[in-house]
Amino acid sequence: MEIAAKKENSKFVDFWKKIFNRSTVYSIFRAILLLGISYIILLPLLSKISGSFMSVRDLYDQTVKWIPRNFTLEHYDMVWRNMKYPVTFKNTFLLTLTVSVLQLASCTVIGYGLARFNFKGKNIIFALIILTLVVPPQMILTPMYLNFRFFDLFGLLPNGGLNLIGTYWPFILTSITGNGLKNGLFIYIMRQFFRGMPLELEEAAYIDGAGLLRTFLYVMLPGAVPALVIVFLFAFVWQWNDYIFITLFMGGSGMFLPQVLELLANNVIQEIVGRTDTAATKLEGDQFTSLINNTGMLLVIAPLLILYTFMQKYFIESVSRSGIVG
């Protein structure tokens, strides 16, 4: 009897010991923490998605939280038309793709040069790359504009220079030279990656008679795919969301997604107010403005989210192998 009770008791203790084992407690704590943080990250996105399908009536109904009671697509319709989505999407996509491919190429080449070759002045060049990252882009916006407006390469070109504003050339020129938006960071990532690749691989290629360029293209580059994915994704995302340089170089013509997004709420409300006066006061509320902005934002970031979903596997994997270590 006593023994059985004791046995029962020790079983009981074991059970609770297992539960309150340090690692179990820690796992639960970690799970709660991860869920909480994920919630904070996902909240604005999910809330935007649910809000974008709500009719105006649901918006002001405090009992409607997540699931729209009166499901509607009219906001998407309004925003889609107002942003001229097909046209602006095409413009933005072409520019972003051009810029990110060029930046990927230039930053890879420059990063490789810094990582695998020894030459005088290497450290100075690296320091200058960091400097370009540290100078706020806003500081050189105006001179940059003037530089491209009267582009003469220190007087090398005649007749007061060319006017490159309104063309893709400012983007192309800054991209092929690794001087574009946050390119310092990309060069840094590529340099760190190439630095970590084994020397034997390179030497074997040289002994086999391959030149510098051949070795770079056919031996080293295929091994750098993880870092290439990261840099491409970053370049694409930052260019896609950029509106400072787009407005500066392309003018305020509003042919790109970030530009139309900024003016969206104003335009939509004007359109509605111009049509029906009765709805005007009701529609000018913050909630409605926020709803229109959010729907627009979803349309702008949707392509990025799709891209991220496709590249996510490589991206997450590549983090472990890219070795962005300073």
């Binding site: 994920s38 604005p44 070759f117 200058l128 500081m139 030149g211 300073g326």
Partner: protein, 300 residues
């Protein structure tokens, strides 16, 4: 023997030339597209810029743009101080959080890939125009959906803590501000988590095994192995966080400098402000670099 020596030399020489060739694009771009505008920006700050159809002319005005920025325009100094204080308050929180998150994401558990996908999501959509609009809108979002996101209301706890008087008020305020800023911090830590995570994964497991054999607890091996090993990354992340915070489009000072171009004093005043701002950033980075590098352990 002689042959292979000769071979080495030619390869080394070719590599030297290769180095210059590979980095040439950057040097060209740096000179024509960066240094040139940068120098011009400094020149403009001492001038008044008049645009006309044939280009522009400069009218030398000495230090008056700087005097305007620092003395006459009272907002500038105030906004600058505020921006810097905000950045300094945010910096340790962002660094601490991103290191912490990276350590967790580096552990093995079910759903780790999903957790990583979610944690890096802000990198994808938290940039540029979206981030800017988002920050204006975030409060509305939060109020609508999470009446009880935080278990305690900040103000109540704040007054409770300051009435107890165990800790000084400024400390209470700092911690409470940090707690209230959690969403912002999480959403601006994506890149830093990525950098730390990559660093953590480059530490070989043998080091931890050795520490375990020596009888180190998890806590000890974090502070004695992990922390020193990734300390070089703390500089990388500090510099990145400072630059990111001071040059982001959501920064009020950046807005101010941009808007100054359309003020009566035009480009001159704007470039004077940004030159001052650049110098301040450079000085801060210098100080931070000096302070942190004392504690950095380099293994290679």
């Amino acid at each position: 023997m002689k042959l292979s020596n000769k071979f080495r030399i030619t390869v080394e020489n070719r590599k030297k030339i290769g180095g210059y060739l590979f980095t040439l694009p950057f040097v060209l771009g740096f000179v024509f597209l960066f240094v040139y505008p940068f120098m011009q920006s400094v020149v403009f700050s001492f001038n008044r810029l008049v645009l006309d159809s044939n280009g522009y002319t400069l009218e030398f005005v000495g230090l008056s743009n700087y005097i305007y920025a620092l003395m006459e325009n009272t907002d500038f100094v105030e906004t600058l101080t505020e921006t810097l204080l905000n950045m300094l308050a945010e910096l340790p929180v962002i660094l601490g959080f991103s290191l912490f998150a990276a350590v967790i994401l580096n552990q093995k558990f079910k759903g780790r890939t999903l957790a990583r996908v979610i944690f890096f999501l802000p990198v994808i959509y938290g940039a540029g125009v979206v981030l800017k609009m988002e920050q204006n809108d975030y409060v509305t979002q939060l109020m609508r959906h999470s009446d009880n996101l935080f278990m305690f209301s900040g103000d109540a706890l704040r007054s409770l803590l300051s009435s107890v008087r165990v800790v000084p008020d400024w400390m209470v305020n700092y911690v409470m501000d940090a707690v209230e800023n959690i969403p912002t911090v999480i959403r601006s830590s994506g890149i830093q988590i990525l950098v730390f995570l990559a660093g953590l994964q480059s530490i070989s497991p043998e080091v931890y095994e050795a520490a375990k054999v020596e009888g180190a607890t998890g806590w000890e091996s974090f502070w004695l192995v992990t922390f020193p090993m990734i300390s070089p990354l703390i500089i990388t992340n500090t510099v990145y966080t400072i630059v990111d915070s001071l040059t982001s489009a959501t920064n009020p000072l950046v807005d101010m400098i941009k808007n100054a171009t359309i003020s009566s004093r035009g480009y001159g005043a704007s470039t004077a402000m940004s030159t001052i701002y650049f110098l301040v950033i450079a000085i801060i980075l210098g100080i931070v670099f000096k302070l942190i590098s004392k504690y950095i352990v380099y293994t290679d």
